[in-house]
Amino acid sequence: MFSKIKVIPCSGMGKVYGLLARESALRVTQNLRPQECETMCLAYLVTGDQEAREKIEGKNCITLDGCPAMCAAKNVEMAGGIVVDKMKMIDIMKEYKGAKPGTATELTEEGWQIVDEIAERIAAKVKKLAKEEE
């Protein structure tokens, strides 16, 4: 049976890169590819609850991390999820040198545009994965 691909952003409370991760995840799971993927709350995974683990064990996941701490990738792996792709916002931001995406609270116009572009990339990955699973 096909199960939706999990797109899991980091908590991203401290830096704008985290907010970029979260907003990109929401955009893909709610607007671009809602049939093929869904998000999951990282905090719930962190609690170590059995129910949370069951939701993710053996499932294909794309993690979106803001900074090099790689919270999402590490925590998803610890909980038994299969991380098929680890995306790191700070690396993507290297392509937008000099851009001012905003703060951890609020994105700028430029920030939103970057979110849309990152979301497109994730969507392409989701599409490919979903096809492979079929």
């Binding site: 890169y17 900074c67 700070i90 931001m93 040198k97 995406p101």
Partner: protein
């Protein structure tokens, strides 16, 4: 011996300096077995140049301080062997660059001079690298630190008599005639996640307080101000692809470069020891708002 460079000019079409960068690349390419990388095509078809950028030392030629070509190289994680900025070269030679996009005789002469310099340089640089290899100085992998904290930010300052600091928050660890140089936790914490590292050129002679490349985050660019004078004999190449090592620990895996000291006795006069720098750091941290 014929040179084999991969040449990445910025090719800036709307500025004279950019047009000169292209001219330099052409001149070097004509007289060596080098290959030119078109920055525009590189963006859309990276694979075409993969072989060339892997096999040959990369020479980046920027027209102006915007350094588009360097940025492109950093973005693509390319290792830069040599870097030229036309406006700086002009300054060094005391030459003016005209405003016309069609190059005049002055501009062509400048291009010629820089091209000749590049054609002559490689053999000299090879020698430097070899010499550097012969005299291996082992720097410690771990240091002891004194710690100062503000909120959740931890500022480490390494202890030991071999450590010297300047007020621009850079350190040097000196063994004999060699020094390893880097930035302190203050730089790393105030920049936050470092995204780019522009290394200094191996073989370059640097004065005390001269520039040893720079590092850049989403917040700012920081020019690395060398605490010591000397010749650059090694660069921490790992930082080009993983600049976050500077955030992890700017003293150990995040060191910047190694220099062969030319006038350390003289340099010392203007350097701080651990204790004095630690006091300065505390003051800076207390007045700093993240």
């Amino acid at each position: 011996m014929s040179k084999r460079y991969a040449l990445l000019p910025c090719n800036g079409l709307d500025k004279t300096a950019g047009c000169i960068s292209r001219e330099i690349a052409l001149k070097v390419e004509e007289r060596s077995e080098s290959e030119i990388i078109c920055p525009v095509f590189f963006r859309v078809a990276e694979a075409k140049y993969r072989q060339s950028t892997q096999d040959r030392p990369l020479v980046v030629i920027d027209g102006c301080q915007t350094r588009c070509a360097s940025k492109l190289a950093a973005e693509k994680n390319l290792k830069i062997a040599e870097k030229i900025t036309v406006t700086e070269e002009a300054k060094k030679r005391g030459q003016q660059i005209g405003a016309s996009l069609r190059l005049g005789s002055n501009e062509l002469a400048l291009a010629e001079a820089i091209a000749q310099q590049l054609l002559a340089e490689e053999s000299k640089k090879e020698k430097e690298v070899k010499r550097a290899g012969e005299e291996v100085v082992a720097f410690p992998e771990k240091y002891e630190y004194e710690i100062y904290t503000k909120d959740k930010f931890i500022f480490r300052v390494p202890k030991g008599e071999q450590f010297f600091f300047n007020e621009n928050d850079c350190w040097a660890y000196v063994i004999g005639h060699r020094a390893r140089v880097g930035v302190t936790d203050f730089v790393q914490q105030s920049l936050s996640d470092i995204m780019f590292f522009t290394p200094p050129t191996i073989g370059a002679e640097v004065e005390q307080f001269g520039e040893l490349g720079n590092i850049e985050s989403g917040k700012a660019v920081f020019e690395i101000v060398s605490p010591v004078s000397g010749k650059v004999v090694a660069v921490n190449d790992e930082l080009v692809s993983s600049p976050e090592r500077i955030n992890d620990n700017p003293y150990e895996k995040g060191w910047i470069a190694e220099l062969e000291l030319t006038n350390f006795e003289n340099d010392r006069e203007l350097l701080l020891d651990f204790k004095s720098y630690f006091n300065i750091l505390k003051r800076k941290v207390d007045s700093f708002h993240v």
